[in-house]
Amino acid sequence: MGKEKRKTSADGHPSRIQGVRSQSLTPWVWTGGGLLVMAVLSAAIGPVAIPPNVIFKILLSRLSFTAIEVDWPSTFDTILYQIRLPHTALIALTGMALGASGAAYQGLFRNPLADPYIIGVASGAGLAAVLAMSAQWPTTVLGMVTIPAAAFTGALITVGLVYIFARVGRTTPITTLILAGVAVSTFTSALTSLIMLLSTDELYRAIAWLMGGSTLGGWPPVLAALPYLFVGLAVLLFLGRPLNVLQFGDEQALQLGLHVERYKLVIVAASSLVAATAVSFSGIIGFIGLIVPHLVRLLWGPDYRRLIPLAMVTGGAVLLASDIVARTILAPRELPVGIVTAVIGAPFFLWLLRRAKQVRFW
């Protein structure tokens, strides 16, 4: 006491200690730029390559009233609007959903290995989505809107079960979380396979869907996903501050005046809604929700007010990149994007684990 002289500025208020909080724009430039570049590449690359400058011209000609000289084949319009752009949008939205929900799950469980895939939420949502799809294969936007609702229910049941099984006293240790997640997701995956076997005519596209290749084409899935993602992501983006408080443990959070159970419920509901929507239209895609938040935390710190939006944008960029790889590496064959994320993601995650032992970033 008394050692620190209070600095007083001209207007009589104590001046901010140690300068203004650094709100660097760098991460936003990197992640936002990455998302934009990947989106353009995603729209450009395919069996028929559309040069990026033509993409911009086509977009401009649609948006503005000024006449732009058409110097591209008319098929480009159709390909871009009816195939590429909806696909790009769906992949970007899926990646954003996985990145943001992964970050939120990790914060919620205070566990660096929580992600929609590992804790079984994805397979729970997948099972419910398959049930919904095998009841009636969706073709319209309205039909598709019901799938995330079913998947959301499945996700909530799964996360509830995993949480109950994984809980030891007042904590959720990594080992029990993974074990419970593995057990529950193995069970739900088995049920999913069984349902698929029984409804043989939909088998092929259901499997392709489950492995992370979006088989529902065009704009309807994008439109059906948007309202769910908008609500879920908005909630997650605004709950960074309480997520930070939760990092001190339930007891301290409660003593700091946070209504812990209510906040946890809302965060779990929002992240499960977002993850379930991603699963509904893009299948089960692993590792994005795990690695992206890790990477962002490693680069820019653990503050969830920044971590969630940055993980969201980075998730979009990374999944777009994986999808480009999936579509080109064995062209003309297209791989399910889930294979690519697993092949790239698993070693990367192991590397992260080793690194985490040296630098404690959690």
């Binding site: 006491m1 200690i17 301290q252 003593q255 005046g257």
Partner: protein, 256 residues
């Protein structure tokens, strides 16, 4: 008027009592030290006083309101807890941690306002942590971490301060520093302070009154010199204990 009052309160986990029929009152400006052998329920008492462990019987009052009828945010505006420093997520900056003391004043989607930042600045000056504001708490020493946690508690602008073994794992110098700070704050801010400590000599020096817990009850409450007597302590701790007088402070000096 007592800021914090236990009124024949029985406390425990589930239906299993740890402390029976506790009656204590802490007026503003007073530091009450809670002592007793390991496992006697010092931490349980602090937990109950913080409102996260509802009493099995009886009530706890804070500023004459029933503690367990208040919402978490209402509680946290009246009462702040300083936990042990080793339970910190280490990558947050000291300023982030202190700002979290404003949680009870922020609604669901709210962000900290300019006045919240100002309060954080002020309490960091009070606790001599201003120069640490942008450092990660994981890089700070135990004493510095503890002061940051005290600053976080002050940011709640409470009238009651609860501390659970704030000097555990601290060197002598930091023990002194932290407890002096608590002592000064109690006087300056008129806080009622309850502090659980296993070190009897620290309690003797820094507490106005001492509550000695034994066998699930408050065995004795009063000024350190009255409570920390050789007979009482020998019986409670089960070994022969001598009490002399601190050569400088004149407070009881407990030796085994």
């Amino acid at each position: 008027m007592a800021r914090l009052r236990f009124d024949s309160t029985t406390i425990g986990y589930g239906q299993k009592p740890v402390l029976y029929s506790i009656s204590l009152a802490v007026p503003p400006g007073e530091v009450l030290g809670v002592v007793g052998p390991n496992g006697v329920g010092k931490t349980t008492l602090i937990k109950a006083a913080s409102g996260i462990l509802p009493p099995i019987e009886g009530r706890i009052y804070i500023n004459n309101q029933d503690l367990n009828r208040l919402s978490p945010s209402e509680r946290a505006r009246n009462l702040a807890v300083v936990p042990q420093a080793r339970q910190l997520p280490e990558a947050f900056t000291a300023r982030d941690v202190v700002l979290m003391g404003r949680t009870p004043y922020l609604s669901w989607f709210a962000r900290e306002s300019e006045s919240d930042h100002q309060i954080a600045d002020e309490v960091m000056v009070k606790t001599a942590t201003a120069h640490l504001a942008d450092r990660q708490v994981g890089q700070l020493s135990g004493g510095e971490q503890q002061r940051v946690l005290i600053a976080r508690a002050l940011a709640q602008t409470p009238s009651v301060l609860l501390l659970d073994e704030p000097t555990a794992h601290l060197d002598l110098k930091y023990q002194d520093e932290v407890l002096k700070l608590v002592r000064e704050l109690a006087l300056e801010e008129d806080f009622a302070v309850v502090i659980a400590l296993h070190d009897l000599n620290l309690v003797a020096r820094f507490a106005d009154r001492v509550a000695l817990l034994s066998d699930g009850r408050v065995r004795n409450v009063g000024e350190p010199a009255q409570v920390l007597t050789p007979d009482e302590l020998s019986e409670v701790y089960g070994i022969e204990i001598h009490v002399s007088s601190h050569p400088i402070h004149g407070t009881p000096l407990v030796l085994s």
